[in-house]
Each structure stands twice: as structure tokens, then as C-alpha cells.
């Protein structure tokens, strides 16, 4: 059952065509374009929305790293998290209860929409949760080994 939960959590950042805000074909085209853009290139809303899919994976990987467990997925290596988001991701990952309206306001001032911030927040939370689940499952398997011994 836990593995099923892990699979379902993974579906959030998977390649399902209905993820994100644009149509599947448009998303694929825009993602290819967005992959070539630098992290600070924020020319159009369309590009921003497409970038979110890749950004989600990267944030999830970063949250996992902050939790000191899994190494980031290979798909995340080509895209890095913008500096403006790093502190926020760290806060969501480790001290979610300390997030304030000021944090959200600062990111809005930096140009992120609420929709993007929603995705970013969910991504960081999923990354942290997934890592903790994996650590828990690993601990259970160690415990089983001890009992078997």
C-alpha cells in the first residue's frame, strides 16, 4: 500500500499530458522552447506557464536534497531553481509553519503569479513528503532485516 502511495505521489510530477496549464501539444512545444531559455527569461505568460512543469520537477528535487536523502532525478539536472525561490523552497521544505504573507508578497514582487506560487509550493511539499516517505520505508526495511536476523 505504501508503494502505491509513493506511486501516486510520483504521478504529480510525471509526464501525464494533462498536467500544467496549457494543452498537451502546446505544452510539449513550449517546454522545448522553455528548455532553451535561461532561468531569468520571463518574456511571456505562455513561456512562464510551460516553464512551471520543468520548474516543478526541479523544486521537487531540491526539496528532496534539502531533506538529505535521495539524489535529484536526472530530469531535473538541466534546470536550476531561480535564486529568488531558494529561500522560500527551503522554508516550505523544513519549516512550512513559518511561511508568512510577507514571503508570498516578496515573491509576487519578484514577478511570480499566484498560480506559479501554488505550483512551486505544492512541488516543494511533494518533494519533502516523498523523501520522508522513502526514508520511512527504508527504515522499515532495516527493521525487518533486524527482526529476520
Amino acid at each position: 500500500m505504501l508503494n502505491q502511495v509513493r506511486t501516486l505521489l510520483g504521478a504529480f510530477l510525471g509526464d501525464k499530458p494533462n498536467h500544467g496549464v496549457a494543452s498537451p501539444a502546446l505544452r510539449r512545444a513550449i517546454e522545448a522552447q522553455a528548455a532553451q531559455l535561461s532561468r531569468d527569461d520571463r518574456a511571456t505568460v505562455t513561456v512562464l506557464n510551460a516553464r512551471s512543469a520543468q520548474l516543478r520537477r526541479t523544486i521537487e528535487a531540491q526539496a528532496a536534497q534539502i531533506n538529505q536523502a535521495d539524489s535529484p532525478p536526472a530530469s531535473a539536472s538541466s534546470f536550476s531553481v531561480p535564486t529568488a525561490l531558494e529561500a522560500y523552497i527551503r522554508k516550505v521544505t523544513l519549516h512550512a509553519d513559518k511561511v508568512t504573507d510577507n514571503d508570498i508578497e516578496a515573491l509576487k514582487q519578484a514577478g511570480y503569479s499566484e498560480d506559479e506560487l501554488f505550483e512551486i509550493t505544492i512541488s516543494a511539499a511533494i518533494g519533502a513528503a516523498r523523501t520522508r516517505l522513502n526514508v520511512g520505508l527504508a527504515a522499515l526495511s532495516i527493521e525487518e532485516d533486524i527482526h529476520a536476523f
Binding site: M1, Q4, V5, L8, I104, E114, D115, E119
Partner: protein, 59 residues
Amino acid sequence: MRFKILDHGHRPLPQFVFNVIWRVTGFLPGPLAVNSYRRELFGRHFSACIQAALRESST
């Protein structure tokens, strides 16, 4: 709610239901708003996780 979209950004039918909840109870439960906003992105998967965790065998 820190994100205004979670208060006012839902599709018409959920928004109507939430407005009713708001008027009856005086507040909108955060988990409900988060799980209902753009369900294809997060809420649907998370609800499936909860369903699996609560309803299936733990072994």
C-alpha cells in the same frame, strides 16, 4: 488563505459550493480549497493517496 486564488479562483460550480460553505460556516477549510483548486495538478492525486492510505490494507 495566503493565496487569493484558493479563495476565489475555483471553477464556477466548486466556487458556488464554497460560497455556500463560507456563508454557512463562516470559513472555508484550507485542505478543501487546496485539493479542489486545479485538481488535475495536485488534488486528484493527493485524494487518491489519502483514499489508498485510509481504505487499503496496511500490510
